[in-house]
Symmetry: C2
């Protein structure tokens, strides 16, 4: 039929052959992600509490890195390697996630190359690096700050590219204002705020360490 479309996404002229509609309700999709994330955070919080050497802030950081690393590897990793997720008929949870999220940003269903490039770098490089950060904090590695700084900067760069390309392409990829603010803005906002805070903290810690190092060399 001319003018009508087999999918709910915007822009309406987007072609998605063999699209299979999302089955699970929004509450189930978001709920499973929320409960799974809470579970990950709780486990990391409890285990990290066993060592009295790990400070409260480092325990929170371990929770963040575990949560964001698993999100990058599982959710975003699935997207990167599943170009046809919107055709999925099996009610696969991960396919449901991206069918649902595409209501806030149809570039996922449309597989825009800028999205795939950023998600690819995030899933393949940053995801495993986040889990390494959990380990680095727990075992007090000397590379802990610079690693956290590097990942945070990568997350910020990716989020910038994500928002800027959307603006340049007309900012018209959401099914409704609700999905625009809930998914496109809301779900990505944390990845602007938290990496900024962590990057600033690491910058300060590293500068302080470099000053001490320089003083020590001077007094030798």
């Amino acid at each position: 039929m001319e003018g009508s479309s087999n999918h709910p996404y915007v822009p309406r002229d987007l072609k998605l052959e063999d699209y299979v509609p999302v089955v699970l309700p929004m509450s189930t999709i978001v709920g499973i992600y929320g409960v799974a994330s809470l579970l990950v955070v709780s486990i990391v919080w409890i285990f990290s509490g066993r060592s009295k050497k790990i400070t409260r802030i480092d325990r929170w950081l371990m929770c963040w890195w575990a949560f964001t690393g698993l999100t990058h590897m599982i959710l975003e990793g699935y997207f990167v390697f599943s170009p046809e997720f919107y055709k999925d008929k099996t009610v696969n949870y991960l396919a449901e996630v991206w069918k649902e999220y595409s209501k806030g940003d149809s570039r996922y269903a449309a597989r825009a190359s800028d999205i795939v490039a950023v998600e690819g770098l995030t899933a393949v490089l940053e995801g495993p690096a986040c889990l390494l950060a959990v380990y680095a904090i727990a075992t007090r590695k000397s590379y802990s700050y610079i690693l956290q700084f590097a990942i945070s900067l990568g997350q910020l760069y990716g989020t910038f590219v994500y928002f800027i390309t959307s603006l340049l392409d007309g900012d018209n990829f959401a099914t409704s204002p609700f999905y625009y603010y809930a998914y496109y803005v809301g779900a990505n906002f944390s990845w602007l705020v938290i990496p900024t805070l962590i990057a600033i903290r690491c910058w300060k810690k590293i500068c302080a360490a470099v000053v001490v190092d320089a003083q020590k060399k001077k007094t030798r």
Copy 2:
């Protein structure tokens, strides 16, 4: 005329209304960039040599940051804020640069949003940060390593997005294999190799400083 095109770029169906052909020969365009870069490097090398406190490697790094910073701000800055450079009739050198470079990657003339996003971040954020790095090295600031690390990582992320989006979109944006290898591959290759080397060096320096800092805290 159907099938013919008013520009030399690939893909041939790219629409560029009011395109004005490049006037200067390739040797002049590349030559001016080469001579100007050599001038910048020479000036920084000579001035940095006046201080005996600045090591040889730091002097080379200052040359690199001055060269890459001015390239980001002037060349790439012009591109970001001149969406109609391909219509320029005044033989403006910077417009000529991008008309010529588009033979290696027509996404510049086509103003692909991923290119504009990456070039925007590079010109507006990384360019000034590079000049700050020249100053930071010269004055031995404690943030010198972390700043150089941050910019190098940004350059690497940008170059990755640049190459990955091109591959995903079919890798068919060069007028000929010559321009593909000379401009698209050749001109960008340095921004993979040099930032990688600098990032590794900064990572090592920072880890060493953090170790010293931790030891000092322990012995207190």
